[in-house]
């Protein structure tokens, strides 16, 4: 069994301290009773209380949640379709253009995507609001979904679909009863990624949101531009906690199913 060498232990400790200390400090100071961010004035949860009494924040959170649910669901459908077409669609006219358009928003600076979408919405006279944010987020996040799903489809044994057809399925039936159940984990993680990206997005939303549809990141951004605020610390802590619980439990579930599978396979080979 190998052990940590002192060099590796040091670099890992320092590295993870760098990654986690800022968030840790943020979390600790969200329970600070005083207003000053660097002076500890006793444990208190009063900022959480204030946060939940602030209607503007609650409204923004509600907008963000609705946008996130709608856009990530739309993006998952479109992104899965796009991935399927790119991986399985064979050759068709404009395939290169399509894969280019799927790849570009991932690497393009968000300011450009945001600006161009806004100019489109103005050109066609679409009022800025919830709809425009959903459209923008769907376009942006479907590319990520498509990357996740297509990387699963590439390793997917195509003879499984052929076997389904061979056994009497129509193509749609084969997709529904064979392909989809097998790629489901990738589709779900695609959805989660899209949802997280949507919740987190500031730049696109700043361009395409209207006055009545402020999202949480916009609200946070305008609040923290003026300086550190304990209320934002409390909000940040909540968001970090949600993500941490989600990621950790997902990885635990994944680890358990992998170990179980390994055990099953070993037993099967031994039998």
């Amino acid at each position: 069994m190998r052990r940590f060498s002192w060099f590796n232990a040091t670099s890992l400790t320092l590295g993870f301290a760098f990654l986690y200390l800022p968030m840790l400090i943020l979390i600790i100071y969200s329970f600070n009773g005083g207003r000053n961010v660097a002076i500890w004035a006793g444990f208190s949860t009063k900022w959480y209380g204030e946060l939940f009494r602030d209607q503007a924040f609650l409204d923004a959170a509600w907008v963000t949640l609705r946008v996130g649910l709608m856009s990530s669901t739309l993006a998952t459908i479109l992104g899965t379709m796009a991935a399927y077409v790119i991986v399985r669609g064979g050759r068709f006219k404009g395939r290169t253009v399509m894969s280019g358009m799927l790849y570009a928003p991932i690497v393009m600076p968000e300011v450009i995507t945001g600006l161009s979408l806004l100019l489109l919405f103005i050109a066609i006279g679409l009022d800025r609001g919830l709809v425009t944010i959903v459209l923008a987020h769907t376009t942006f996040t479907m590319c990520f979904v498509s990357v996740v799903v297509s990387s699963r489809l590439v390793t997917f044994d195509q003879s499984l679909e052929e076997a389904a057809l061979d056994l009497g399925c129509t193509p749609w039936d084969a997709f529904k009863s064979v392909t989809l159940p097998i790629i489901a984990p990738a589709v779900i993680s695609g959805w989660l990624l899209a949802f997280t990206l949507s919740l987190d997005d500031l730049v696109l939303a700043s361009f395409v949101s209207g006055p009545s549809s402020t999202t949480l990141p916009i609200k946070i951004f305008s609040a923290v531009r003026l300086g550190v605020s304990p209320k934002i610390n409390a909000l940040s802590t909540l968001m970090i906690a949600i993500v941490a619980i989600g990621v950790i439990s997902a990885s635990l579930i994944n680890k358990r199913s992998v170990t179980k599978r390994l055990k099953d396979e070993q037993e099967a080979a031994a039998s």
Binding site: M23, V37, P109, T138, L202, V228, M239
Partner: protein, 298 residues
């Protein structure tokens, strides 16, 4: 059968055309227009009701004035140069910070690696904005860092870090670190330990084996990680706005300000077009290197 295929290809295709390519063409077009006090605040607008004459008239009014304007105003080219500079330096620093972490992860005991991997991914899922914001409380005049330094007696006066380029660098390295660690870790993890043993067997010391074997073989990870940091940093907007000062010039920030406070859409569009031209080079280079990598693995 054929309708189904058409539907499957058509829906995402039309979506991307309408919401990615068309907006882009609009940006290109507006960047060639002139500012006007109207709604929309630029001219000319394409009037298809006049038919061919309208189209001809429209194209004759487009010009490169906005781009010439960008050339005359030193603010813009300074911002471009400074964006590139910040991107290059911060990529280099991220590499220096990220490599030892990735190396430590790859050489960690087997049962630790999944956990370490998750610890790198966790911040990646956490809100970008919050991670940038967390440094505001640390780097400020009365922030955590200054209190700590003064308490330790290292400095007498609080240092000014927030609202300087130093803070921008710290923010970039912090937020983009996972992008650097993950590809390098992937490359190092694949590296066969027996290669190092072979190198030592053939007379290398531990250190020279690192320089002659480990480092060259982790190059694909270094290249991928560097591009993954460099490309988004050029157009970065949140970090310079929150951590940078008024003298922090980054093109993403300028574009946003040009657009929202000055409402000069043609100039903002021209800035966007030029920004795209700048990022296109590293994007193409990155894609080429990824393709070569995929080819080599076949």
């Amino acid at each position: 059968m054929n309708y189904r295929r058409l539907f499957l290809i058509g829906v995402p295709y039309v979506w991307l055309l309408a919401l990615f390519l068309v907006p882009f063409i609009i940006v290109l077009k507006i960047s060639l227009s002139d500012i006007a006090l109207s709604i929309p605040p630029y001219t000319p607008t394409l009037d298809l009701s006049e038919g061919w004459a309208g189209i001809k008239d429209f194209f004759s009014k487009l010009d490169f004035d906005n781009f010439l304007f960008l050339k005359t105003d030193p603010l813009y080219w300074k911002a471009y140069v400074s964006s590139l500079q910040i991107a290059i330096f911060s990529t280099a620093i991220t590499l220096l910070v990220g490599y030892p972490i990735a190396y430590g992860m790859a050489r960690a005991p087997e049962e630790w690696r999944a956990t370490l991997m998750m610890m790198v991914i966790l911040p990646f899922w956490t809100s970008f904005l919050i991670r940038v914001y967390s440094w505001m409380g640390i780097l400020g005049k009365e922030g955590f860092l200054n209190s700590a330094l003064m308490w330790l007696g290292i400095v007498d006066e609080p240092l000014t870090i927030l609202n300087t380029n130093t803070a921008v660098y710290i923010g970039i390295v912090y937020t983009y670190l996972p992008f650097m660690i993950l590809p390098i870790y992937a490359a190092l993890d694949k590296l066969d330990i027996s290669l190092l043993e072979a190198a030592e067997d053939l007379g290398c010391t531990r250190t020279s084996a690192f320089w002659l074997v480990t480092l060259p073989l982790s190059r694909p990870g270094i290249v991928a990680g560097s591009f993954l940091v460099f490309i988004p940093v050029i157009g970065e907007f949140v970090i310079p706005s929150l951590l940078g000062g008024s003298n922090t010039l980054m093109i993403g920030k300028i574009l946003f300000e040009e657009f929202s406070s000055n409402r000069d859409w043609p100039v903002a569009s021209a800035v966007a077009v030029l920004l795209l031209l700048i990022v296109v080079v590293p994007i193409v280079l990155f894609q080429r290197s990824q393709e070569r990598q995929a080819e080599a693995q076949k």
